[in-house]
Amino acid sequence: MAYINLKGLIDSRDAVNKWMERFGVRFGVYKNGVFNEQLFPFDSIPRVISKKDWDYLEAGLQQRVKALNMFLWDIYHDKNIIKDGVVPEEFVYSSKGYMPECEGVSPVGKVYAHIAGIDLVEGKDGKWYVLEDNLRIPSGASYPMIARKLCRKVSPSTFSDNSVAENRDYSELLRTMMDDMCVDGGMKVILTPGRYNSAFFEHSYLAEKTGATLAYPGDLFVEDDKVYYAGMFKEKRLVGAIYRRVSDEYMDPLTFEASSLLGIPGVMQAYKAGNVALINAIGNGVADDKGIYYFVPKMVKYYLGEESILQNAPTYLPYYEEDKAYVLANLEKLVIKDVSEAGGYGVMFGRDMNEKQLAEMRQLINDEPRRWIAQEVIDFKDLELLEGDEVVERKADLRAFVVTGKETKVWKSGLTRFSRNPDSFVVNSSQGGGFKDTWVMIK
């Protein structure tokens, strides 16, 4: 890799953080029932990905997301992958993300995961591993996007000295995808649960940058199986695509959670009738279930007839007796994940458990083997970051974003999240982590 000169950027880090404050780059956290907004800690030393590594990742990510989209279509239609015994039906139908209401529904262009956030780590051996697929409402792209804008502002020479791929075009990727999906030339909206959602900055920033309208609960309504945006003085406008940042179960109180005030009553009928695109589709949770993750390389082979380019972290499913025996015997060196949890919650390291906790965990695995997966602990490559004036090393992951409209495209950047705790592997912002820009080198 070419020599990377970061001096200008590091010297300007206070200026970047000032700009972040000026633009209100924040995320919200609920603690003890109280909502607080805080600045997302930004480290100015970027993660740098060589062209060679990126070419590999890009091909692997495109392949993986294509297969996941085919899997979702198959699950809600023909179910061939179950009939052919590649994925056991228990893993599909017992998944909390499986939505029977989506059976037979055909989204525009057969696309389910329009925006996929694939979490990867780079091992110390230089190999990349997929840790998790996020196909419901993956968030975080706005942060490196605005960070790049601000870094270029405060240290332009850093970018003239280094050949870094543009990343401010994420909004263009989104806009094109929304245009591809939009039904009958309707409005394109981003539906936010509201001001007190932890990712509200992102919702509003992406609306600004894509030119979509930010819609709040109550702004949209359904009439004759079509969705409309309600204007002043009884004006209304047809909506063709909804990039929704509201969870499946709250999207339509007439179909799902009846008490939801966040959704649009009747939207499922409009969606089933093909009158509106939902981005991402409802029911995607069945494919990003931690249990289904195990089967993704098999999906790639099954649907595309290709070997999976990207590797999963070595994973065991206690559902299979052989795997269960291994997990129970090696619990202290594995990481255990509760398949029903997200956001870094429900992740437990065997090495941190005492004998009593290990025994309890073994019991839980025996009682509910489908609820757990176990993985070998990957020794991630540490990334450098600045703590005061000192350079320290911390664990970090990479969320890559793959956008699918008429084509599947990988955004040449990503959200690099790092742990601020030297002993922790948990990088989630909700648990105190920070973020970096992700540079993909052009040459």
Partner: protein, 228 residues
Amino acid sequence: MIISANKANRLYWLGRYVERVYMTLHLLRRVYDKMIDGQPEDYESFWQKLDMTDSYASTSEFTLGMMYDDKNPSSLMSSLNSAMDNAIMLREDIKSETMSYIEMSIALMKKYRSEAMSNITNLQSVTDWMLAFGGSAAQRIDDPKVLSLIAIGQKTEKIDIMLRFCYCYDRIAAQYYILRNWAKEWPELLDENIDAQIVEMLKPENYKDADEEFRWRLCKFINTVVRA
């Protein structure tokens, strides 16, 4: 562009709060100037004009309270926070750059509050940023309806404060005709009956400068003429 009722309401109130910050600072500077010569009645009449139910015990408490007191809805800090509460939900319409002038003002006020800074003249940056907010909005907002709602909010607030602080007839009448001009973009926005009442009251022969009840009634009409 289509604008929802909630969005229209937020745009209107964003304009009102930004103008409230600007006007309050302007008026506070005048009071501050008089207080230099020890005229405490000025600050008492100030809070009475704003319908504040609680007074402050001293000039220094009054100054700090009007600057930083979160519990005082007329303070600069409260008005800035309220402006931000609206702006943050309008980012895609007003743009991040426009919003940033409110963010910067809040950050500066928080810094000064932590230092108990009481010299109101140091808040010139906030005045500048409120003016920059208007300039940025005019430069960056493409939708004339969005721009007009903010401007109408600003004019409504300005007239309200001018009436409370007994500004002269010419200035008040001029501001209302500017408001009406902005509403041409969206004629349904003004309640035509209330508008007709205001126009009648603003005729030179009908205007009663010294009549407090008249000004109070006009203020009430001004505050209800916009249907947002």
